[in-house]
């Protein structure tokens, strides 16, 4: 197991190198002089020259990249052009909100997805199965930002049950978590149903029934436990994809997360912020995928011996 984990970590090195390279390239793909871009529209000639020296933009590109990557490894992404605060501080402030939102969303997605998937698999081709799988199809196809707006319209504007945005209490998290977790709930429900339908046909399930176990025990203790391996992978992938969906959810519900910071950074042409957010999200995404692979190998020994 340890060898498998070490091998997977070793494989991450070129990917993380690529993540920093892509983020570094962003500034150099922008038309014009990078020093002028970093200085903003109001920068004087002296300011531009100072930035050029400060950021080492007068050095060869390879040297610039090495310096950028070395700083990034230390968590130093420079200073925000707009707020003049270190980008690291801005990212850390916002990361907490995005992680909170992602965790709340995965909770919603797991609860709804697992329940719908398990019940559907115990009554295949029933009305409940058809309805929940139709719901899953719509869940996958519904734009997050539209679902968010509909939730605001119904639960905040019409019914006044929940706040339409902002932060502060757990109540503020409910609507964003449903909006962001909706699509993942649909994916988890589909995967759970498919995985359970495969498992319930196995001989050991027949044996468990023949031994006289109650149906609930057979489904939960024998079938679901074994069906969980592929579902676990989907959890990991969905948690990663929530980082992407958070950009839209945070915008709809005015939440101060990483996604919102990135969008604000793009509008303000605040490239250190954009680069920092890209590296942070890329690294988090890669690490979540690593954890998913390790968990998968832990639960299914066939993977680590391959």
């Amino acid at each position: 197991m340890l060898r498998y984990i070490l091998r997977r970590i070793f494989m991450l090195v070129p990917v993380l190198f690529g993540v920093t390279l892509v983020s570094f390239s962003l500034l150099h793909l922008v038309p014009g002089d990078p020093a002028e871009v970093l200085g903003g529209q109001e920068a004087t000639k002296e300011d531009v020259e100072r930035i050029r020296r400060e950021y080492g933009l007068d050095r060869p590109l390879a040297v610039q990249y090495l310096r950028f990557a070395a700083n990034a490894v230390r968590g130093d992404f420079g200073v925000s052009i707009q707020s003049r605060h270190p980008v690291r501080d801005l990212l850390l402030q916002r990361l907490a909100f995005t992680l909170q939102l992602s965790l709340a969303s995965i909770l919603v997605a797991s609860a709804v997805g697992l329940l719908a998937g398990v019940v559907s698999s115990t009554r295949p081709y029933s009305l409940f199965d058809a309805t929940s799988m139709l719901g899953a199809l719509f869940g996958i196809s519904m734009p997050i930002f539209w679902l968010g707006l509909l939730l605001i319209l119904v639960f905040a504007v019409r019914l006044h049950w929940l706040p339409s945005g902002g932060t502060g209490t757990l109540l503020h998290l409910i609507l964003p978590a449903i909006a962001l977790g909706g699509a993942s709930a649909a994916v988890i429900a589909r995967m759970t149903r498919a995985s359970m339908l495969e498992v319930v046909q196995q001989d050991y399930i027949r044996t468990a029934r023949a031994k006289g176990h109650r149906e609930g025990v057979v489904i939960l203790r024998h079938a679901l436990k074994n069906a969980m391996i592929p579902i676990l992978t989907v959890f990991g992938l969905e948690f990663g994809s929530m980082l992407g969906g958070a950009v839209l959810t945070e915008t709809v519900f005015s939440l101060p997360g990483i996604g919102r910071l990135l969008v604000e950074g793009i509008f303000a042409r605040d490239y250190p912020v954009v680069q920092g957010a890209m590296i942070l999200v890329g690294t988090t995404f890669v690490l979540v995928n690593l954890l998913t692979d390790v968990a998968y190998a832990f639960f299914d020994p066939r993977i680590r011996y391959e």
Binding site: G18, S25, S141, L150, G245, V252, I266
Partner: protein, 297 residues
Amino acid sequence: MSELAAGALRAAPERVAAAGELANLWRRLCRNRAAMVGAGIVALFVLLALLAPVLVPFNPIQGDLNDRLQPASGTHWLGTDELGRDVLSRIIVGARVSLQIQVVAVVLALVVGVTLGAAGGYLGGRLDDLIMRAMDVLLAFPSIFLALGIIAALGTGLVNLMVAAGVSSIPAFARIVRSSVLSLKEREFVEAARALGGGGGRILFRHLLPNCLAPVIVQATCRMATVLLTASGLSFLGLGVQPPTPEWGAMLSNARSYLIVAPHVATVPGLAIMVVVVGFNLFGDGLRDTLDPRLRQ
């Protein structure tokens, strides 16, 4: 009999067999009701997009400020927006814009992805390693983040939106084609082609790539749905298609401010996105069921 005529005679039964197989696939697809519903939605969407200039009842760009935020009526079937523009006309023209973005982005991803995947899978070695590591890097970002990064570098606008949505779809095609080529290149028919003196290019284009078509077609169909969601999301954020061009995501974004007084302005574009995505998803799933030999049994 001339050699040419003999060749034509030999080729004729192959063509008949291929046509028979196609007819067989078509019959199987037609029996899949969900796929047919999806195909119907997609066909309607494409027709709406193609015939948009003829179908629009009002100018989708210019409105009458006296008619702003009107509910559905006999004149404006889906009401009007904040500038008094007819929502139905904007939805119809929005279909054209969306289809344009989807087609260009998916074709871009398909051409680049298939080329990279085929080259990596067929040639192997360091080139394959390099291509696959590059794909891993693109996959290291959630697709909307990658698209946002590209927009940050290139700027907003329709063309850059197409590029951003296209680039984030490249790895999916590259991976599928690479794995297909890797499994196919060891098969007997490829060895036979090689033994008959076929060059690398001929083997790749005549024998390998045509046999990778099924998963590529399925992926392209499903990607049309993903690209629509990504592109409308970017426009919703204000980083895609810019006003006054009617695009469904951008329409939703503008409608946010009028959610209380005119909820219909936000409801219709979202519904349009969802229905089209459902259509492509159903059709893509149906194609997968029909074309995947393992699912056919």
